[in-house]
Symmetry: C2
Subunit: 322 residues, 2 copies
């Protein structure tokens, strides 16, 4: 499968490296608004073709999937552009800046009958099934609560601070904590309770979020752009608990007895970067003629965007284009 | 120092074992409402004297400090009884069932000029100073957020479920998470945001709490009586983070770099049970003629009770005697 990468930033390079390590897909093309930048990227990352405009790459008939690697403030525009050219899309998370944009993009893809899916890699990884299999086995008893966090010191990244780029911790890193909760406990929440501390620029600098589920489970999440965190996702049951180490790219799953002794430790399979699973999911879905991935259905993408809209509304964090 | 233990339950036995291991204090007496129970306790726990009523023990002139080991629903009554007899008091946490009771007990102690302090052991332990010294050194950079949790599967303890005994997770175990936050970040909070899931009996079964500090720090806490947790207290700074392992009795302090690598691990000093530090603090305060311990001033005890009152008010958890 020939993949075209739209955007030439850090995450685009990670995708190129991933594709270079895969036999099922290849880093075929890259497009940037600057031909010079695209060519430099192509050389540095072993990409066959370089285009100085997105439109040129999208006109290339050999491109079978476009990976959108631009900031989420631009996903609606770039997603629609790809779909208008009939190109299947793997769109980096957060899917868009808000639920209205997500709805517009998904409606447009449905109208044009073009495949699109959100590149929230944790949904596609083997760790997801491993964790849910352990829960289903009953080893931890009844699950009562989970916690998860993801924070990085990111204040040197201007994009994070700018409202017009949909900055803030939530859409960039907090989204993983919400996805972790959704993957483990589902989506039947009756209440979201939260606090945020804002940056001087008016976006969320750090957040704490409580999800209350209809069945009495709680998810306790925190995220931020001011400090690195340990990145644990912890699942508490009546017979023990499980620590998923690094919810952004789970490498180890630890099972503990109630008295806090490590019972066993499970490593996830070796991977290239972890991005290969979302690419493979796209390949499977496209081969089957589907318009979405079962790993991250459109309804789920929309739901997470709606959760983030509700959180931002509570905090009074509004982007200038909203 | 001769200590009299008021109550003969599990925690009373832990205190007797502690005193038996100390050279500065001794397990001198125990009192229970049943002489038989007191005598069995005294035999099993190497306590010199056994009394079949609290009043009899309090009449013993040799008793220099009384440790109240009854449920917190009875602390006001038993505290006042001790003070009326002029006996200094080390009162197990939670100090009382609510802030009004705490105020009544502290006012009575002040009026009678008798020493009293709350036996919230973590306040008196060496780990407290060790943690705060690391923070003050700047090694972690600016502290931005903390998290802490303490939960046990305690549904087999009837006391935990009964409203008339001031049951629920908050007063029994959640209190440690609030104390951890208070010890690390102080008390200048502008908002408490929380959720609780109640038991069939109407007390709090599990809780999630966000404390928002005036300076923009957040404390994210959870507690419960339905599942054991990993008991980590984590302090996040701009240059790294620290994990305090077991916030109920910190044994190890781990310092991590921002990229989640263990930099160093610090063990706390060997201890008998950990209760010895609160006993030694009482001994120092009494020798200095003080009416409170600097490790847990009365104002601080009252503040934590007020926080718990506010949380319960939000949740609609009311005890029948309130």
């Amino acid at each position: 499968m020939k993949v075209g990468i739209l955007g030439a930033g850090r995450i685009a390079a990670t995708m190129a490296r991933t594709l270079n390590g895969m036999k099922e897909a290849e880093a075929y093309a890259v497009a940037s608004r600057s031909l010079e930048k695209a060519e430099a990227f192509a050389r540095a990352n072993h990409v066959e073709k370089a285009y100085g405009s997105y439109e040129e790459m999208l006109a290339d008939e050999e491109v079978e999937l476009v990976y959108i690697a631009t900031p989420h403030s631009h996903h609606l525009e770039h997603g629609k552009l790809c779909i208008s050219c009939g190109k299947p899309v793997l769109c980096e998370k957060s899917f868009t800046a808000n639920a209205a944009q997500a709805r517009e993009l998904l409606d447009y893809a449905a109208e044009k009958k073009v495949f699109i899916t959100e590149a929230i890699w944790t949904r596609y990884m083997p760790s997801r099934k491993m964790i849910n299999d352990i829960i289903a086995s009953g080893e931890l008893g009844d699950i009562k609560m989970i916690s998860a966090n993801l924070g990085y010191e990111l204040t040197d990244k201007e994009r994070m601070l700018r409202p017009e780029l949909a900055g803030g911790a939530l859409l960039d890193v907090g989204v993983y904590t919400l996805n972790f909760a959704s993957m483990v406990l589902g989506d039947d929440i009756v209440k979201m309770t939260s606090e945020c501390v804002k940056t001087d620029t008016g976006v969320d600098g750090q957040d704490a979020i409580i999800l209350t589920y209809r069945d009495g489970k709680l998810a306790v999440l925190h995220t931020g752009m001011w400090a690195d965190t340990e990145q644990y996702g912890i699942i508490y049951g009546t017979k023990g608990y499980m620590i998923a180490c690094n919810i952004n790219n789970i490498d180890t799953i630890q099972i503990y007895s109630p008295d806090r002794h490590l019972v066993r430790e499970i490593k996830v399979p070796e991977q290239i970067t972890g991005y290969e699973y979302e690419v493979l999911a796209c390949r499977r879905a496209l081969a089957a003629g589907k318009l979405e991935c079962e790993e991250m259905p459109h309804a789920e993408t929309l739901r997470i965007m709606e959760w983030m809209d509700a959180l931002r509304a509570d905090w009074g964090v509004k982007y200038p284009f909203e």
